[in-house]
């Protein structure tokens, strides 16, 4: 019986395992040093905030794995020997594979800041990061101030987490507005204002130069590039993530920033595949980046690879881009592409509600009026409807006219679509 070994029990590896089991009788082993059972990484923040216990982040009951004959090995892979088709574990045990799936995920970016390895300096990616956070920042007595570096999704989550324990937070972002490398400025500004309204000391266009230690080797302050010293007991490094691949250095598998894969998710070595955050596409799909550290991408790569492994060679060929997040109290969803600045020949239509918590931005093609993508804040939208509209190349006018058909807000919520329509028609009059 063919033995499929998967390194990493995140969403990518686990999805691959589940689908392989659905399609075949192959022997499946998942190896993870992080946790015995699969948990939802995106939910780690809720454990720190006390919304859930760690066990609630585990999507399957513990007997699920044995029932589905998926073997779990709680150990760390230190080397992969592709010639002998073997992985070596820290415990000394070796595991032979017929096919190997690398789904090792990400680690936090470190850009060589002085002091980046001090005690009290960390990112937030793994379960171990969360455990470390409980030691470094359990409350506002041990941690009198935290500094968070990097205006992205993990940074804002960490800020919300610390705020839930009344720890004062200084949040340094390099850009002009929160996540404005991705969000158009009006969206970024609204989120910046919302973050500040939660008593986060958000500093735009500010970067960290170095981290200062006290006598015991623990962080005591940071110095910004503008020369300001900010005393703190904790520094959160949230300036993005990169693939977790250092253990593959001498494996012979071709690496760049991530593990290089073709459209079939095959690495340079036969019978070795890579999926999820750690995979880097030689040939990126459409407008997508070569490395996508996104939950949904990991899940979909797992689904696609399971087909290939089980004898139905399937290309990594994802559908329309979508994503979602939550910034404190504001939910965000996106379908299709909305760039921080409209692409050549495109324009943005912005609408902002007077409550400053709801907004819509639509990117469209000026000459063909084709709808390119939408960002919504504080309004839930139907994935299925936008997926269809994108496939049908609807025009922005049709989309605006029918927004209520795509609304997924709970019952009795007021829907601002008439307001949006009016704003759109006056916006178009000005432009014409």
């Amino acid at each position: 019986m063919e033995h499929i070994v998967i390194i990493g029990n995140g969403i990518a590896g686990v999805t691959a395992a589940r689908h392989i089991r659905k399609l075949s009788d192959k022997r499946i082993t998942i190896i993870s040093a992080e946790s015995k059972f699969f948990f939802s990484r995106t939910a780690l923040m809720y454990v720190y905030m006390g919304h859930m216990k760690f066990e609630h982040t585990q999507p399957y009951e513990n007997d699920f794995w044995a029932k589905n004959r998926i073997e779990l090995v709680h150990d760390y892979v230190h080397t992969v020997e592709t010639d002998a088709k073997k992985v070596h574990l820290n415990s000394g045990r070796d595991i032979m594979y017929d096919k190997l799936i690398l789904a090792t995920g990400s680690i936090s970016n470190k850009f060589g800041w002085p002091g980046q390895d001090l005690e009290g300096v960390q990112g937030l990616v793994s379960r171990q990061d969360l455990e470390q956070l409980e030691i470094s920042a359990p409350n506002n007595k041990v941690c009198k101030r935290a500094v968070i570096i990097g205006g992205g999704l993990i940074g804002v989550e960490l800020a919300e987490m610390m705020a839930s324990r009344q720890i004062p937070v200084t949040f340094l972002i390099r850009e002009k507005g929160f996540w404005s490398g991705v969000l158009p400025m009006p969206n970024a500004d609204m989120i910046s204002r919302h973050v500040k309204s939660h008593h986060i000391d958000l500093k735009e266009e500010e970067e960290m130069a170095e981290i200062i230690a006290d006598d015991s080797g623990k962080v005591k302050a940071i110095i910004t590039k503008k020369g300001q010293t900010i005393p703190c007991d904790f520094v959160g490094l949230c300036a993005g993530v990169r693939p977790r691949i250092s253990f593959l250095k001498n494996s012979g598998i071709e690496l760049q920033r991530g593990i290089m894969v073709n459209r079939h998710l095959e690495t340079s070595v036969k019978d070795v595949y890579a999926i999820g955050d750690c995979a880097q596409q030689r040939d990126p799909v459409g407008e997508r980046k070569p490395i996508e550290a996104v939950w949904y991408t990991g899940r979909m790569m797992g689904e696609a690879l399971a087909q290939t492994i089980c004898g139905n060679p399937t290309k990594w060929n994802p559908g329309h881009w979508f994503n979602s997040a939550k910034f404190f109290d504001i939910e965000y969803q996106t379908y299709g592409w909305v760039w921080s600045k409209p692409k050549q020949g495109h324009d943005h239509f912005h609408w902002l509600h007077e409550d400053d918590k709801r907004a819509v931005t639509i990117e469209y093609d000026i000459s063909t009026r084709k709808f390119i993508g939408i960002n919504t804040f504080g309004i839930r939208m139907k994935h299925e409807v936008f997926d269809l509209w994108l496939s049908q190349s609807k025009s922005i006018d049709e989309v605006i006219e029918n927004l209520d058909k795509a609304c997924f807000n709970p019952e009795f919520f007021n829907k601002p679509f008439e307001q949006i329509k009016r704003a759109f028609s006056s916006n178009q009059q000005i432009k014409s």
Binding site: H51, M52, W295, M300, Q307, Q333, N409
Partner: protein
Amino acid sequence: MSIYQRNMSLTGEPPKALSTTEKIASAIGIVGLFILVLAFFNVSLPWKGAWLTAALLLIAGGIIAFAKAQYGHKQAGIKNDGVWFKDLSSRGFWGWVLAIFLTSFYIVLYFFPATLGQGTDGAANTGLIGLFDPLSYLLKGQAASQWFVYGTLYTVAILSFGIKFILKYRHNSYEVIRTGSVMFFQTTFAFLIPEIMAGLNSTKDLPYYDLKNIWPLNYYLFEQWNVNALLVNGSLGMTMLLFGVASILVITPILTYKYGKRWYCSWVCGCGGLAETAGDSFRQLSDKSTSAWKIERWLVHSVLVFAVISTVGIVHSYLPKNNIYKIWEDGTVVKQYETFLTQSNFLILVGVGLTVLFALIWIFRRNELKQDARYGAIGFLFTILAFIGIHFMAGTDHLFFFNHGAVKSAYGFLIGAVFSGVIGTGFYPILGNRAWCRFGCPMAAILGLQQRLFSKFRITTNGGQCISCGNCSTYCEMGIDVRSYAQKGENIVRASCVGCGICSAVCPRGVLKLENGPLEGRINSDAVLLGQEPDLMELLSNNKN
């Protein structure tokens, strides 16, 4: 492995401490409770009316002030910070203390009302019940009873915790309107209207009748004393009796078809009302395991079968053999009716009714039921056999091997008191706020069957947006593992769902929506998550079955 060897448990720290305003608010509420405790120990309080007013206002005021301190200064949004750190809401020490206090209160209330000061044989009330006399006289011109005290406290709890809940979910119109609804139905239908009506009819003894309390939740509706009391009250009583029958046979199925069982369980019902308001802090304690789900299905449907058989047995026992129904009082017939409902006609009617119902389900919903249908068939067969048994027992005062009175009081004791009160409410801080609704309520069982089989209601999931975080499952008071459906892209169509809407509220990615929609495609177990190109999606969908 050094970097991974940190044996820290993942339990967190505050925000669990109370702020100063929260402490003051708690103190106010406790002073109110303390007045009730003083009354309980028969400390003589002059101007009872004033003391009672003070006690109720302090309790309500304390709860509302606490809620304002907790949520008022924060922006609208999900307020679950520290839920699992706080002792009270995570089965900690204070959780157990509260559970023991509530349980003791229910035991005293149900079984030792004299301890509360209930005057027997015409003696005046004393103690806690005596304290409530002024309010009772005001509403209905009679002395209070233990049930009046309970009803008053119950209403105060739903109103003040209702305000707390509204503050907590003020950004969510569904929750605000729904909570307004349970507060309204409790205050009017369950409390004011029946009490005032009882006062207006005091000479004729019209029984206390909460119109929204439907059989089989209201298990004594068809007992002889209640039916007679309604019948002797002429057309009003007759209307109420007919309304009671229509509620379960006509009104309930129509509303459940259109809106799901939520129209009752989380919008109208008093038990549900208390669970949603006072019990909200405990919703995360429900057991989500598949084994709990299995226990739930066996237990709640057994209670339903028990309720049906015992009601049929009781009604059968007082129906006439011929077609004249007589109401006796002190040895004389005070009223008599000509009726088609003789003992045997009644049994045949109910038997045929159930057979038709079962046949319809079997014919039209066979595929959806699969293996559950077998259990349904067992329950049905058991019920019909019981009816045959009842027929042959006619003339004796026995239901099978048990005395009718014994069956009736066993049901009242086990289900009505111990299950719904002592365990159902007393154990909020241990089993979660819906243990009774989930495991014991026969009304919920009937509505659940209707909801699963003949309803437009479902919770839909949004394409591929689920991140399996688990907030929905954690905060489902009915112990439904919502995530297990959402992460497969399937609609949630579960008999037990009461439609409280909290799964949708706590979802950080906008994945869940409560909806009434077309029957077609309502149950979509071949659904897959969106995101792939269409061919692969179709393949995944085919692989699923």
